[in-house]
Amino acid sequence: MMDHAEAHERIADLALEPGALAAALDRTAPGADRPLIEHLAGCDRCKADVAAWSGLHASLERSLRATGPGGRADIEPIEAADSLRRDILAAARGERTDQTAHAERTRRSDRTDRTRRTDRTRLASLVAFRPPEGSHVFVGLAAALVVAIAGTLLLAGPLTNLAQTVDQAHSLTAVVAATDRILADPNHQLVALKASDGSTGGTIAWSSQDLVVLTSALQPAPAGSVYRCWLVGKGHDTPIGAMAFAGRTAFWVGSADQWSSIALRPGWSFYVTLEPDSGSTRAGPVLLEADFS
């Protein structure tokens, strides 16, 4: 009796040759593979495997046998122009701008006193996170964070222009969306990101579903390099992504899906290092660091 591993391997081998799988499973054919047929009778996983391979073969045979004007199906790559990407992204942004303006008007007219209090509480939670006096980093980061709630809070004062400036950096919309979700979570947390000299270089904010890292302490990475983010704990370095730039602000956004959550345990640290593009291990010096204590 053929076991599952043998059957799986046999199916994978037969799948390499169009027609070979069908021939092996045809009891009436001279090349019938009776042990495999017997195994399939009692193994749903292998049956599904056969179904997937045979479906693929049928699709390829049907689509590639058909010939084009040159006597062969056209399977040469077709590249989309860069302008298509630009046009699609611009159209989406245009729609967002329209929707945001409309939503803003609606929210302003409908807002209740209770909502205002909630918004103030959320802003206060940001302001309460205040790095040492005189830090220019905080102003930029606070603006980037405040912009997340700009849609529900009327801003006034010197932050307004800065918030608008940051809002113009379209790449930060991911940060805005994630930050808004984080701030809506009453259990969200914030920690300061420290530079190697001990100064505050940025902020990490997270909830159970989103994590946002913001810093204006980094210069754009040299060609061939990338600022990589790491979670470090229990002797393990886990790369979780690379910082992206929008203007002078560098950011990283991560979101968990509905089946998982973000849990940063005490004793873990977050590092930002400069690494080669292709690097998969942490080799560069720690430029920014935060402890989840």
Partner: protein
Amino acid sequence: MIDHEGVPDDGALVGRIASGDEVAFELAYDRHGGLVFGSLVRFLGDREAAAEVAQDAFLALWRRAGRYDASVGSLGGWLLAIARHRAIDRMRGEARRPSPAPVELLDAAHDGDPERDPAGLADRRWSDSVVRTMVSALPDAERRVVALAYSDGLSQSEIADRLGVPIGTVKSRTRRALARLRAQLAGVPELVGEEIRIR
């Protein structure tokens, strides 16, 4: 879900798009734009028309990401389904057929001859366009072995002779290519061909 490089899967990506995340939208375009556009060019035979329909399809994602159900199929499959409908609408318009009837109604009104059935022809053309685009996106060496096997009907040993490489190389390229294509097609179940039966 986020992988170790911080790259979200399609489900996470669509969730972010639904909340207005433009970066996620860009990622979705980078991930699936080539397949959608290439399929449309093959289906419509016109790059300009294909670009317009591709834009419609991605804007539909932008506006209605909340309707995406990952249990039904991949994001690529969802985008392809939108693109297919828009492309058929466009073909109808260009053919100056004012009927607003969907393809399924045209299907029912037909005499049943599959060779003349417009809906069946459109489905077949679309399916060919998508599968060929998936094959076109394979690395050159893998694309070549797939073409020789399925387009020219060569065996693995014949392909090895034709290319002047060891048969083991042909097998490994074929294995990789088929694995990629299988994974892609799994997200577009309506394109998968008929399964063989154990007789």
